[in-house]
Symmetry: C2
Subunit: 219 residues, 2 copies
């Protein structure tokens, strides 16, 4: 199994956490988005969309889209489960994960940032305001769903990590990078800290990867 | 079961198709996004994020996020299946669905359009160029994955509709609204036409809903 990853990619971060939690070994291939390595012919053949992450199985099948990869890992390596056993619980966890993956994150990815910069010629302050606006909106959506819901426990759903926590920590990492105050989102903050205290989450963090640039590495 | 829907919402369109295919009856409650009905206290209590669609079960549980609702319907009403039986096939279908739901669609939703209009004060031509850019990019991503892949059949995956087709038809509907030429995306175009010929898809179309304004109705 080959896992095509980039240290800063928050979608790669999700898959790294799932691989760690499920103790699935994969050969990691680092694709340097900053050097446009995802546009090389070799990677284009693997993933015609030139997006990260990709998981290439031993038979050559390429899996794409981080949440689809998470579902595949859940089906092939069910322990520990990253979805609850009951259907309503699974719907809640998937919904929480999708608030990040289908609403917040897509507005913050490099290709959108490039469009704001090169096509719309936005000033740096406007670009920062865009990132902040959508980051904060998603934090508020998560807090609204998590605070006071009886399904919320030590983690987003119950007392073990699920897809929801995996997606949430990436989003909070984006917020921390922007120095956004997490005070108004106490449930999100508490769960983020609980999750990141687990070695499977901590080792998957963007600041801890073999391809993390020296200046960005956790000290 | 109560389904909170809006005629023009492409995420609501997805759930309508799945309900039709699985022959699941739901009382439809129309939430007029244009009149800001999603911000009313009554709907806010159901969905604190004030987003559409929501599916409220008979025990009061609210399901949110269209793909999480689709997964729930698949688990509770397995016939006809909207995911393939094999794991790799399921991963492909979910990945294709997520190209729309996690990449293309989030850049075209009303709250992003409002931001472009009110916060960035973009000219109409710039707003139209934004919509066109991301619509076309997603059409190209879908065509790249579908054309020449042996998994592609009469539909996105094999010869029966799946989550992938359900998401794709909404995206192509957005392209058609913008009068984007589908010529460069022949596989997408062919599958769109095949899917929309099914009554379960046709009846779910934005132009065919009880709350569709007269001027937007299919003649």
């Amino acid at each position: 199994m080959k896992f095509f990853s980039f240290w800063r990619s928050l979608a790669s971060f999700r898959v790294r956490i799932a691989l760690n939690l499920k103790k699935v070994a994969a050969d990691v291939v680092f694709i340097d988005l900053d050097a446009n390595a995802h546009r090389d012919a070799a990677y284009r053949e693997i993933n015609p969309q030139m997006a990260l992450p990709s998981l290439v199985l031993d038979d050559g099948t390429t899996l794409f889209q981080s949440l689809a990869i998470l579902e595949y890992l859940e089906e092939t390596h069910p322990a520990p489960p990253l979805l609850p056993a009951d259907r309503k619980g699974r719907a809640r966890v998937r919904g929480l994960a999708q608030i990040v993956a289908c609403e917040g994150h897509p507005l913050l990815v490099p290709r959108v940032r490039r469009y704001l910069d090169h096509e719309l010629n936005l000033r740096d302050t406007q670009q920062a305001a865009w990132r902040r606006h959508w980051t904060v909106e998603t934090l508020a959506a998560l807090e609204g769903h998590l605070a006071g819901d009886k399904g919320t426990g030590g983690f987003c759903h119950g007392d073990a990590p699920t897809f929801a926590d995996i997606c949430m920590v990436g989003h909070v990492t984006a917020a921390v990078t922007q120095q956004i105050d997490l005070g108004p989102y106490p449930t999100v903050k508490r769960i983020f800290e609980t999750a990141m205290a687990l070695p499977e989450f901590a080792k998957a963090h963007p600041s801890m990867q073999p391809d993390t640039p020296e200046a960005m590495r956790a000290k």
